[in-house]
Point group: C2
Chain length 248, copies 2
C-alpha cells in the first residue's frame, strides 16, 4: 500500500501523527528528522532484519507492510504480528540490543531508519519525544496482550473475524477504506498468526463469505456487514485489538 512519497521527511510526512513525531513542536520534529536516515526500500520477501542481529536502529514503516515472526531451531515459525505504515518495528530489541524476531516485507515497501543511540540522546533533550516513545511502547504491549487474548480461548471463527476487524480498524485509521482492502499476506501467514492451519482459515473465510458477511476473492476482502462481524467477537475483551487506534 503506497501512502506517502518515500523521500518525504518527518515534517512533511502524512504519517507523522501516527508515528514518532506525534505531539512534538515543529522545531522538535525537525530535530528528529535530522537523525532519521537512509529511507530503505525493500522488495517482497526481503528481510529487514533477522532474529539475533544486533540492533542499531528502529524502523518505521513508510509504505508497504511487514510480517515479524519467531523461528525455532526446527525452522518452525510463529508469526508475531503485521506492521502497517506509521508503525515502529524492532521494539523487542530494546532489552538486549538484539532482535528477537525476524521481519520481512510482504510487498514492496519503504522504512525510515531511526538510529537507536541518537534516538536515546534526543529523548533526554525532548521530553515530548520520550513521552511519545513510552506511548508507542505501551501501545505495543497492549497490542501483544490483545494477541494473547486472541490465542488464549477463541474459536477459529472468532479468531478469523477478529483478524479482519483488526485490519479494518488499522486501514481506517490510515485513511483507507475500512470495509474493502487487499490482504498483503498469504493464507499461510494469517493461519500461522492465528494459531490455526491454512485449511481452517480458508474454511472460515468461505463460511463468512457464504453467510454474506464478507466477500472474499483471493487477496481481496470486502466487509459487507461490520456489525455482524463484530457480533462474532462480541464476547471479547473491551474492544478487539484496541491498540490499533490512533494515539490521541
Amino acid at each position: 500500500m503506497e501512502f506517502a512519497p518515500a523521500r518525504a521527511s518527518c515534517p512533511d510526512c502524512r504519517l507523522a501523527d501516527l508515528c514518532l513525531p506525534y505531539g512534538l513542536h515543529a522545531n522538535e520534529v525537525k530535530q528528529l528528522a535530522r537523525i532519521v536516515k537512509n529511507k530503505r526500500l525493500l522488495k517482497t520477501d526481503e528481510y529487514l532484519y533477522v532474529q539475533g542481529d544486533e540492533c542499531q536502529s528502529l524502523y518505521a514503516v513508510k509504505s508497504g507492510s511487514f510480517r515479524s515472526f519467531i523461528a525455532n531451531s526446527d525452522g518452525a515459525e510463529q508469526t508475531i504480528g503485521f506492521y502497517l505504515p506509521g508503525e515502529l518495528m524492532g521494539l523487542d530489541s530494546l532489552q538486549y540490543g538484539r532482535f528477537t524476531c525476524s521481519t520481512v516485507a510482504l510487498e514492496t515497501g519503504a522504512v525510515c531508519d531511526v538510529p537507536l543511540s541518537r534516538l536515546n540522546e534526543l529523548c533526554t533533550e525532548i521530553p515530548g519525544l520520550q513521552i511519545q516513545m513510552m506511548r508507542i511502547l505501551g501501545k505495543e504491549i497492549v497490542a501483544d496482550h490483545d494477541k494473547i487474548v486472541l490465542l488464549g480461548h477463541r474459536t477459529a471463527k472468532e479468531r478469523t473475524a477478529t483478524f479482519l476487524l483488526m485490519l479494518s480498524r488499522r486501514y481506517g485509521a490510515l485513511g483507507f477504506s475500512n470495509t474493502a482492502f487487499n490482504l498483503s499476506m498469504r493464507r499461510q501467514d494469517i493461519a500461522n498468526f492465528l494459531g490455526l492451519t491454512i485449511e481452517t482459515v480458508s474454511r472460515q473465510l468461505a463460511e463468512l463469505n457464504k453467510q454474506g458477511i464478507i466477500t472474499v476473492k483471493q487477496r481481496g476482502v470486502q466487509i459487507n456487514d461490520l456489525d455482524l462481524l463484530r457480533a462474532i467477537v462480541e464476547h471479547c475483551p473491551t474492544q478487539p485489538l484496541c491498540a490499533e487506534q490512533p494515539l490521541s
Copy 2:
C-alpha cells in the same frame, strides 16, 4: 514469597539489580528512592488496580506474587501473566494512561509505588534510568512474544512444561531453588494462562509426575529432571520464555 523487608528503600533493596535501579550510580539510586512512595501491602485476592482505572503509578513487586488478566463484558478472563519480585507492573497503561488489565495478589505481598509523572521527569535527568526503562519495556515485549509463541502452536504437554520452566528460571534468578518451589497460583489460573482447562493441566501434571520428571503435590512442585522437561519444549523458539533472565 518473602524476599526483602518491605520497608527497605531502593539503595538497600536486594532486588535493586532486577528492578529500576539497575545500572544507576549510588546517588542516582537515591534520587529514584526519593520519588518511590507508600510501599503498599496487599492480602491474597486483593486488587492492586482494575482494568480501566486511571494510572498514576507503576508498581514494582517487593514481595509476594501477582496475576494480571483481561476480562470481557461477560466476565470471562484471560490471564496475561504472573509477576514475581523485582518486576514492574502496569506498563500497559503507558499508551493512554489507563490500565488495560486488572492485577490481583496471589498471596500476601508488597509493592513499591512509582509515580509516573515523577518517573518521567527523572528519566530526562538520569539518562541511565531512561535506558533502563527502555530495557524493562523491551523485556516485557519479548516476554509477551514468548507467550504468543506458547499459545500459538503448542500442545498441552509443551505448554505445561514451558510454564514450569518459566517459573524455574525466574525463581532461580531471584536466588531461590529452580527445582523446588510452591505454586502461588491455583490450577484455574495456570489453565487460563495456558489457554487450557483445569482438567487438562491436572492431567498433564499428573503424567509428568507419573513419568518421574516432576513430583507434584498440590501447590508443591519439585523438578526431578530439568533436562527431560526441557526436552519436551525442545522444538521451541530460541529459549523458553527467555525474557525471564536477569538483565545483564
